[in-house]
Symmetry: C2
């Protein structure tokens, strides 16, 4: 097959900082011709699956976050994709190869070979590079093992338990011998947590009038919490903190309930730090990027579990490149299960 | 000198749970005759100095704290004293010996010898057993070294910096080579922090309209915070959390701003846990009792500094046993400096 001299490249350009929900005014879809000629070591890739992740919304905060600057306006939305090689001037990649790349929301990109990671489709579905064997898996594994430090017999509570990271944390905690309670929104997700992930308990936070009522139910079920792996924050965290046991570990992995405005203008909530004092407990924030250099460790352990079918890694795949901004926004509405991605 | 068959014992009885400030209705002063005869190994002591500490107010919370039950009503208020031995049936103690004991708010007590710690008045003033060489010193030393883990060149911020624990934390942090900012209420305390404790910076939180203004000033002075040793909580903590540096350590040693009601009905404050995520920072609660078995380590290091006059340990001594409830309440008004105690 010969490659045409140029092809149509579609891109989602980040145009305007959202203050609350993401709506059509914040992104613009553009289309242009892309010359397919390559410099040495460049690879032309065609994206097949686009990751949408909560961290993208953090990058849009107008205040400093983990990065001092927000995602620049009028550039392609950054993000990880699973792609196939169309043309390569690198000896390391051949047309047809599956790769992952941080090339963002564009259908095609020319990427230096150093920025590509080869995916072996024989080992696991290629989409797992965006989920269980990618960033979410790394987050779940190291957040739980390095900050949560669960022990057999302990109670681990996971918020956002039906999500990409939470559903893995919950399963990894079960493998450590912990008793695991998953918190999610809606009865269907909770059924899935109990019936498919085999968690000890699942609690639908939407079924409770307030944090106190939610707290009472978690207490009734678990008696107390040794590890709280938090992806959500807000009233769910308000409900869990008063239940911590002696020397509990709270892992702040995400605060998704706060991303649509709360990072700029913090919501109000109860002051609960005295519980940390009472229980000599710890809250620790963690970020996946700090464990990038340890990806091989996670894959060495989790990879065989995935291959053996011992880990449930549900994927919610939205069809259509044009759905990307909508898909990102839907992360915060909470209707999906497992890893959310868009298929071009 | 012969001991009389009995003597007048005065006691402060804890009668009623305070919901906000401590007022005269919460304690009752009683007086009775105490028979001076002793069982084997008992010691009759006369208290000379009574400690008043913020933890006493935690013990009055109607919700579980570090103890599952509140301080029992209609009993002598618990607490540590520095006392002298009047009569002893233990070979380890002789009349006139200085001791510390957890005998509470009563002028005299019969205590089993196992509950007494001998104080050597040649080593340091006896009152230091309630301060720098006692529980507050232990709290400051281990809270800072085990949870705060300061390094030379780092910025350490201490709230309640003019208090019994805070003033020691600040000095211990200076000895680690850190740059130290103390937060206290009022210009006089701040002058003392700068001029006498030789801190790098002192900030009067009462001089600011709100947490944002306080935060801006701490940022202007320090640039950012590596260790935040918190005795106070509330708006001071709101001001500091957004300033934490990468991998900052926040030590929750006290939340004194919350003790007069906030433990039962939490105050509202801004949700700030996303900063922990951004900076991969840690909040850790600590309690002095967890380091009781390591008192010798602290004394081995801090004792020589005290003896050499290298540590400022200011004491505020209120005269009169009858002042005890008032003295406890005054901890929360914040007019004293250093260790607050009552002299019988």
């Amino acid at each position: 097959m010969t490659t045409p001299r140029s092809l149509t490249q579609r891109q989602w350009i980040y145009r305007k900082q959202p203050l609350a929900e993401i709506t059509p005014e914040h992104y613009q879809l553009v289309e242009q011709r892309l010359d397919t000629s390559l410099s040495a070591n460049e690879v032309l890739i065609e994206a097949r699956y686009f990751s949408v992740d909560p961290y993208m919304r953090i990058g849009q905060s107008s205040k400093p976050t983990y990065d001092s600057d927000a995602h620049p306006l009028d550039t392609v939305q950054a993000g990880t994709v699973v792609a196939q090689v169309l043309v390569s001037s690198s000896p390391a990649f051949a047309p047809g190869d599956w790769v992952s790349a941080y090339s963002g929301w564009q259908t095609h990109a020319k990427v230096n070979a150093a920025g590509l990671t080869l995916i072996d489709p024989q080992q696991a579905p290629v989409t797992t590079a965006l989920g269980v064997l990618g960033m979410p898996g790394r987050t779940a594994w190291f957040g739980l093992t390095e900050s949560g430090k669960p022990h057999a017999g302990e109670v681990v509570v996971v918020s956002g338990a039906a999500g990409a990271v939470g559903s893995l944390v919950a399963q990894f905690a079960k493998r450590h011998g912990a008793r695991v309670l998953g918190i999610a929104g809606g009865a269907a997700k909770c059924d899935w947590l109990r019936d498919t992930l085999k968690l000890d308990w699942a609690v639908d936070y939407k079924a409770f009038a307030d944090a106190d009522a939610l707290s009472a139910d978690i207490k009734r079920l678990t008696g107390g919490v040794d590890v709280y792996f938090d992806n959500v924050g807000g009233i769910i965290t308000d409900a869990v903190i008063p239940l911590i046991n002696r020397r509990a570990r709270i892992v702040i992995c995400g605060q998704i309930s706060q991303y649509s405005g709360g990072l700029e203008n913090p919501q109000q909530g109860p002051r609960l730090l005295h519980h940390l004092l009472y229980q000599r407990a710890t809250i620790q924030g963690m970020l996946a990027r700090d464990y990038l250099h340890r990806m091989d460790e996670m894959r060495r352990i989790v990879g065989p579990w995935v291959k053996a079918g011992e880990i449930i890694f549900e994927e919610t795949i939205i069809e259509g490149f044009e759905q990307l901004p909508h898909a990102l926004n839907s992360l915060f509405g909470g209707e999906h299960r497992g890893k959310l991605m868009v298929k071009a």
